[in-house]
């Protein structure tokens, strides 16, 4: 059996490795536009800020593919999958396959506004992006967007000694992951490190003679010589569209719980795929590393006939502002239509909140002490109810069977 894996990111690599582990006789052909062995996009900001050597971004060496029996067809772009004839058509050749796993990932969004691609504007998604940023010598940097990547990019440029302004269109930073109150605390923390934060303004035009010089929002005019777009990632699904593979409402490749697309023998996983949220069941693009890897395992196992269901995507995001960590797990306030109860606490500089909907834990946001976040995350993933936690706290037997749950309940939820 010949299995084509398209993409050499977190998802593609895990898919190939999983197939080889469970079915060593399967032939795995991996296609990738880039020629680098696997590297971690998540560590790009660390390298940008000067905390990490470039060489340490790489998670695999070229030999690792060979020793794992993965055939690499790198430096080629797949232009079409002929799902009827089972052919992968690249810009250079045509290959036959029996099954195909699409792991085409995502691309950074650049809004269609005047000047958006002027010299001096960047995105931070790939190693090539990083290299071109490192070769560029700015003084005043604007980061547009305050999600995980925006926060990290801003911190990295500040660490390198540049003047940094962050612009967020929503009324608070990290709008996808944090509720207003903790987001305001994060904003204060950012500002204390010298980053200027502007919220509620949308970038409308950009101008400059040889490179970006002026950025106009709906309310102000700002000067800069570098601009980083961090307004989100969108699924790379042009290949799917080109090949007649269905794309879902979130613009990711539509898959079932086996990560199979609407075309027979075609699977998708990682940033390019539209999965479902473990808590709400709604379609989501997870766009996270652990989700990409788990989806890749599921796709690979089903692809070789080992039936496995995906559990659903769960948000886990951790970051840091000047050595103070923060984390968001599960869902935030506005994801649910019904009423949400917020249980929150503060201890010195530390802050946490746990969100409860229909008597069940659905999310946690924490700044400072993250020690028991993982345990609460586990409880959220298992849809633990407040009632169950109350019972655990009352019953010495239950305390002993899951002391970690009792520990977290005692810490955060005693009295609720």
């Amino acid at each position: 059996m010949i299995i084509a894996v398209i993409g050499n990111g977190a998802a593609g690599y895990v898919a190939a490795e999983t197939i080889k582990r469970h079915k060593p006789e399967a032939e795995v052909m991996m296609f990738a536009r880039e020629s680098y062995p696997l590297y971690s996009p998540c560590a790009l900001p660390d390298c940008l800020g000067g905390d990490l050597e470039r060489a340490r971004l790489f998670l695999k060496k070229a030999e690792d593919y060979r020793s794992n029996g993965i055939e690499t067809i790198f430096g080629q772009t797949v232009e079409k999958i002929d799902v009827k004839e089972r052919l992968v058509i690249t810009d250079q050749a045509v290959y036959h396959y029996d099954r195909v796993i699409m792991a085409t990932g995502s691309k950074a969004v650049i809004p269609p506004i005047p000047g958006a691609r002027l010299p001096g504007t960047f995105t931070l998604k790939s190693l090539d992006d990083l290299d071109s940023m490192l070769n560029y010598k700015p003084q005043r940097v604007i980061v547009v967007g305050s999600g995980n990547i925006g926060m990290e990019a801003a911190g990295a440029m500040r660490d390198r000694g540049f003047r940094v302004t962050m612009i967020e269109a929503q009324d608070h930073v990290m709008p996808r992951l944090f509720d207003k109150k903790p987001a305001h605390m994060l904003q204060n923390m950012l500002e204390q490190t010298g980053i200027r934060v502007i919220t509620g303004e949308q970038v409308q035009t950009m101008d400059g003679r040889t490179r970006v010089e002026v950025v106009e929002t709906d309310r102000s005019i700002l000067e800069c010589d570098m601009l980083i777009w961090a307004v989100g990632l969108s699924p790379e699904c042009s290949l799917a569209r080109e090949s007649g593979i269905e794309v879902g409402p979130t613009r990711g490749i539509k898959v079932d719980r086996h990560m199979q697309t609407n075309a027979a023998g075609v699977y998708a996983c990682g940033d390019c795929a539209e999965a479902f949220d473990i808590i709400t069941g709604h379609p989501v693009n997870s766009m996270l590393w652990p989700s990409a890897r788990r989806q890749a395992q599921v796709a690979a196992l089903n692809c070789i006939g080992i039936e496995t269901e995906y559990e659903g995507a769960f948000n886990i995001v951790v970051g840091e502002v000047k050595d103070r960590p923060f984390a968001a797990l599960g869902n935030k306030e506005d994801i649910h239509a019904g009423p949400i109860r917020i249980i929150e606490g503060e201890h010195g500089d530390d802050y946490w909140r746990i969100l409860v909907a229909d008597q069940t834990l659905i999310g946690m946001q924490s700044i400072g002490d993250l020690k028991l976040c993982g345990t609460v995350g586990g409880l959220i993933r298992n849809r633990t109810s407040l009632q169950e936690l109350r019972e655990t706290l009352k019953d010495p037997g239950l305390k002993m069977t899951s002391p970690w749950a009792a520990e977290a309940a005692q810490r955060y939820l005693a009295g609720f």
Binding site: R56, A327, P396, P403
Partner: protein, 144 residues
């Protein structure tokens, strides 16, 4: 070490904290619960105590979460380990462990976890009540 597992008999734990002290002493050179890989959750009202360490999960969430290639599964120990050279201190593993086990070393800025003292867990050696043991897997299966 292959074929051995760490077991806890929580009925026998008196919460003395010897395991925490010996763990941090052996692995970090000082006695400190903050740097101990094992931790004892104490419920003083019920006079119950529960040592917690790595559950050696199958398809562990810490492994899936590691963005730096620092966590790997050690087949002979039968549990995930941290390659501290490769760890970038992002804490993704810390907040992914449902047992609150993955620990974070503030000074070194890296994750750390129980690695069974390379196959001779000192917590089991020093536990004087018999609450922590490191028997052969088969023995444990026989008991169940």
């Amino acid at each position: 070490m292959e074929g051995q597992v760490i077991t806890f008999n929580r009925e026998k734990c008196v919460g003395c904290g010897t395991c925490e002290m010996i763990c941090s002493l052996v692995n970090e050179g000082i006695c400190s619960t903050r740097l101990s890989r094992i931790r004892v959750v104490r419920f003083p009202r019920e006079a119950r105590n529960a040592p917690i360490t790595c559950a050696a999960c199958e398809n562990a969430s810490c492994l899936l979460a590691c963005v730096a290639g620092a966590l790997y599964f050690d087949e002979s120990l039968g549990m995930p380990r941290v390659n501290s050279e490769q760890c970038i201190g992002c804490r993704q593993c810390n907040v992914s462990c449902p047992f609150g086990h993955m620990n974070f070393h503030q000074e070194k800025d890296i994750a750390f976890k129980c690695e069974l003292c390379d196959g001779d867990p000192q917590c089991a050696q020093f536990c004087w009540t018999g609450a922590i043991e490191y028997p052969e897997k088969e023995q444990v299966l026989l008991k169940d």
